[in-house]
Point group: C2
Chain length 691, copies 2
């Protein structure tokens, strides 16, 4: 922030500007044409925007894509990624190379059909699902504000980067963006600058068919600083540069620059949906090039003077980072502890011994809802791990996510670590992705488990992007009670378990909550979700925080150590029923064991030997979980669950209604024993093992 508008940025060579802009456009459409797949229209429409921003404004170092104080760039209309790849190549990043551009959208190339942060260092967040990138950017901007507040000292602006976003009409229509942009306005994020590619075209045609609102007025209503650029396709970038400089000068509001452009600028079908999502064709590209006096038969052509001008970004970037490094060295000398802490965070090393601070419980402690023990564990971890930041979508009390020793992150209080996300689940998840993408924070976001369905698009992107986001999801079964079916998750655990690279924990008690947090905090390359009870659960004698990492374990073995005749597996609040029913069977002289299975994904990572230690070959297994039964057939012979929607009533009664009582589970166990009295139960894990 506070960086002066830099007049030197303007070039004195209009022809060179034009050549650069044209090269950006053609390099992009050549990629799409070579792939015979992709989106040429937006790159042509946004070429001047890209040139203005990357060549004249943005601070980044192509030689070190991960420089912590770089300006962040997010291409929210990710389908126009050919443009981003062109910029990365032209400004001199190691990847993509020119050959990479020629491999656009090919299997195993880094130039994927939408920008993927796992493939290219310079891509901050994976975009494509519309509205998501701009919402991530709000998180990136909040992260910068928070890091600045934590680490900057007088004369040492260690963190003062901006976050820039390109977005289109699609992003403007998505509710996720409305949520995040309302939040950005509330938070007065002066370091966030959005360039809206206002081209009036979406896939269905002119936006007049569905989208006639006054977008700039809406952003004013959110509290943004709003600017307009009327000719976004001018080959003279001055108006754009001035607008972005004016945006930078406004430090107490996010800026929204509406840039009027023509989609597919220069093509015959410019300004129509016809240039949006299909290659322009070899002949048309040839014609366009020739119209500008270029050789129409050459593709992927970058004039020498254009490349050398664009590659000045390397020198600018190296100088900028060198200047920063020299400042940081001085800072290090003056504030060695802060500097060390800063470096620890960037390296994503947890502080020493944090897990020693996990609270412990014994069976003598009184019953506690796992949302409540989560609150205690979260607080202990937040005290020990300052980079743990986050909040709730307006359910702080219900989710037990209040942090006793932290204040709210607000305008004028940027050192706050608690985020009041508002009633905005999807935006929260996307903002958490942005907070994680910054590279030095571990964000958490909380809501009711059932409302995962309101934010699933972004939870998926946490997983796809490998972001360590902790989702604290309370009220995890019909134990919710009175709020009824709209608030009772049935399918939600299955929903979350199905997402690749998302680790889902449903701890049985406080001890397992602690173990779940530990496993999730150690899992740096993906998100975790905790499904937590509203209602109290006892602290089980056999529960084990360390064994959560195994995914499932025998929480109540047969007392005499003999092989069980039946195994009852539960998760979360139903483990107590598994334990009680197993005990009742043992009391009747039937060897029975209970298994707690807090995490499917971690169990799947174990050896088959261990898996068959837990689910012993030939022993019938009864499962108990107050949710849908989908997926359980892999482990159990009969699953007692709920495959209809829930009911409104006191939690205990609703649980009883659906048969989640010790008596019913015991009865089911006896039926299962009877069922396999004379035949051996199929060894399910073995039965499904092929390779």
């Amino acid at each position: 922030m506070g960086e002066p508008a830099t007049k030197k940025a303007k070039t004195a060579d209009p022809e060179l500007d034009a050549a650069c802009i044209e090269t950006i456009g053609f390099l992009s459409v050549d990629q799409v044409q070579a792939a015979n797949s992709g989106h040429p229209g937006a790159p042509l429409g946004m070429a001047t925007m890209a040139y203005a921003l990357w060549s004249k404004i943005m601070r980044y170092n192509p030689k070190n894509a991960k420089w912590i104080n770089r300006d962040r760039f997010v291409l929210s209309n990710g389908h126009s990624c050919a443009l981003q790849y062109s910029m990365l190549y032209l400004t001199g990043y190691e990847r993509p190379t020119l050959d990479d551009l020629k491999q656009f959208r090919q299997l195993d190339s880094v130039t994927a059909g939408h920008p993927e942060n796992e493939l290219l260092d310079a891509v901050e967040v994976s975009t494509g699902p519309l509205g998501s990138g701009i919402s991530n950017a709000v998180g990136l901007a909040m992260a910068a504000e928070h890091m600045a507040a934590e680490f900057n000292e007088e004369g040492f602006p260690i963190i003062d980067n901006h976050t820039y976003v390109f977005c289109g009409d699609g992003c403007m229509q998505e509710g996720i963006a409305s949520e995040a942009c309302s939040m950005a306005g509330h938070q007065k994020l002066g370091n966030l600058i959005v360039l809206y590619d206002d081209n009036h075209i979406t896939i269905d045609g002119d936006t007049s068919c569905a989208f006639t609102e006054d977008v700039t007025k809406r952003f004013e209503a959110y509290g943004w600083h709003v600017l307009s650029v009327e000719n976004g396709n001018s080959r003279d970038p001055t108006e754009l540069i001035e607008a972005i400089e004016a945006a930078k000068a406004c430090t107490d509001k996010p800026s929204f620059i509406r840039v009027k452009t023509v989609i597919g600028y220069g093509a015959k079908k410019q300004g129509t949906g016809g240039v949006h999502g299909a290659p322009l064709g070899v002949d048309e590209i040839k014609r366009m090039k020739e119209e500008l006096g270029l050789d129409g038969d050459k593709t992927f052509e970058v004039p020498e003077n254009v490349l050398s001008h664009m590659r000045e970004a390397q020198t600018r970037g190296e100088e900028a980072e060198a200047e920063w490094t020299s400042m940081f060295e001085k800072y290090k000398a003056k504030f060695p502890e802060k500097a060390a802490e800063f470096e620890r965070r960037i390296a994503r090393k947890l502080p020493e011994g944090v897990f020693d601070k996990l609270p412990k419980w014994t069976p003598e402690d009184k019953a506690l809802a796992t949302r409540a023990s989560s609150g205690k564990v979260l607080n202990a971890m937040a005290d020990a791990i300052p980079e743990l930041v986050g909040g709730s979508a307006d359910l702080t009390g219900s989710n037990s996510t209040a942090l006793a020793n932290a204040t709210d992150f607000q305008p004028g209080a940027r050192d706050g670590r608690y985020f009041r996300f508002g009633v905005r689940e999807h935006g929260m998840s996307a903002m958490c992705n942005g907070l994680a993408a910054y590279g030095s924070l571990i964000p958490f976001g909380a809501t009711f488990l059932v409302f995962a369905g309101y934010m699933l698009g972004s939870v998926r992107l946490s997983a796809l992007s490998g972001f360590q986001v902790l989702y604290i999801l309370t009220h995890d079964s019909c134990g919710v009670g009175e709020d009824g079916p709209t608030h009772i998750p049935i399918e939600t655990l299955a929903t979350l378990r199905a997402i690749p690279n998302l680790t889902v924990f449903r701890p049985a008690d406080a001890t397992e909550v602690a173990g779940s947090y530990k496993a999730a905090l150690l899992r740096q390359h993906g998100p975790s979700a905790f499904a937590l009870t509203r209602q109290g659960v006892p602290n089980l004698a056999g529960s084990d925080a360390e064994k959560v990492a195994l995914g499932a374990y025998t929480v109540a073995p047969v007392p005499d150590g003999s092989k069980p005749k039946i195994i009852i597996v539960g998760t979360g609040s139903e483990v107590q029923l598994a334990v009680a029913a197993a005990k009742a069977l043992v009391d009747e002289g039937i060897p029975a064991a209970a298994v707690s299975m807090p995490c499917w994904e971690l169990f799947e990572e174990q050896s088959k030997t261990y898996q068959e230690e837990v689910f012993v070959k030939g022993v019938p297994v009864l499962g108990v979980e107050a949710g849908c039964t989908q997926g359980w057939a892999k482990y159990v012979h009969y699953q007692h669950g709920i495959n209809t929607f829930g009911k409104s009533g006191p939690g205990g009664k609703v649980m009883e209604h659906f048969g989640f009582t010790e008596e019913n589970v015991l009865g089911l166990a006896k039926k299962l024993l009877e069922r396999y009295k004379d035949v051996e139960a199929p060894a399910l894990i073995d039965a499904h093992t092929l390779m």
Copy 2:
């Protein structure tokens, strides 16, 4: 629309007004107190709003909750349902009774913790998940406009009802509402009137912590007619009545009335989060009643004059409906065909013989993407079923949902049946729920399968509310290709299959597409989803439209009719691989059969005998589906799927990368045969049968 502001509505008795408003408030807090659970704050804050609307404005008939031309009321802040239950009782609906109010939030009572349309006739849509109700209301309002355009004749306003919404700050923050309200503004829905309970309190406290945007300006930006009422808690409803009348007078824009209220009005803790979600306490309610000169010890007390005044709603309603019925009789005489068609639609009877019009395909027809055959089937059905209306979230071409013989629904073109939903998936789903809730339309909504994650909250509500909505979800696997992992569904089929009362179809070819539509159109009490390919698939020799209704069937039996040694089951585009691999095995002399399983839910409804006809006891089953394997262990011994995210590249190559080739499937089949060479494969369905 165009109904004149009715001056007679104003009462001349201010004391009676006040008594009614107080009774509404106390009857609501008494419910919450009796249940010792619920939300007293909003009902107290909105009591005057409710009184003004229900007693002085809204047209409804308590004696016939389902009168088709009734005004619709949606309580978008569903947690304040005690208020709605009070109104329904006071105005004289059959249910809830006073006893029902005393059973608030108890198991099996109709007065559930949030309003449920399946429990009370007068509840139009189930609300609770915030932002959802107001978005449903946009659909309800569009449905009324469309029905009016289709059926009204000069002098015969058969349909001219309004849709009224109460909503709170939470609804205003949710992105789903932003999407739908932007659409409502675009559509100039003059029949939609929203009363915004602007009380500045959400669960986390004052809205100043997270929500400081200018809401009224935002709605102006959407193109709404915006009004304000400063004292929403006045015991004189005049200002509110006038505002609503002014809203009704504006017929070319939806109206947004910001009503400034105090949450928990009258309670000591009024205006704070303390009155939001917990009972006020017996003593406090007593104090409040006594302060107003009432007997503090009496609960559920309705003064005689209040009840008789409120119950005038019955007479008003009966008169209004009688007037309408008399008009409809005349309409019937003058326009018998239209009247018959109107009655058919209201009765939700499909036209005779519609399924005769389903297109047919043979193996000789060229390969066709199932999204393309869906387009043909949809068009055939839309031609035959005029109540089939809908559209796409800006992916009309990609989703193949364009209707050749229908125009767009737009302002000035209300007879249009094709809805341009914009890039608004969640809003689309919620609007479809509203279209379905109106009672005479079958809506469809389309997007890419992967973006089900953007709208899951509302898809869940389609299922929970029993609304017949058709979700057309194309680009259903890594066959999507170049667009890459953000656009490739992996977990999405599992996600949808896990939702109770949602029927998920993944047809193998054009013939099965036709069968899927038939099954979905016959299923009136819940939504269906079609997962459709982007890429072409052959028309299979053994596919059968009628057998889709069985969920799964043998598409390629062993040619000589003998028992197979292996069964290969696939869904969608992978059925061709199952068939090809089975054929290759047969060619090698190994009896093998292929099964197509377009719909799990329908298969689960079949007898165990039929199920074991398809998956023959003791025969190893190999499954093939280009998505995550979750849930398949119930049917197969080995499932070939994808449990990581997808990749960008040409579709065929990505399919090949993940092993979806005939060769690989054949290889897996041989491994499975080898695995069960000497032992019988466990009979999985039987193994999981307990009861």
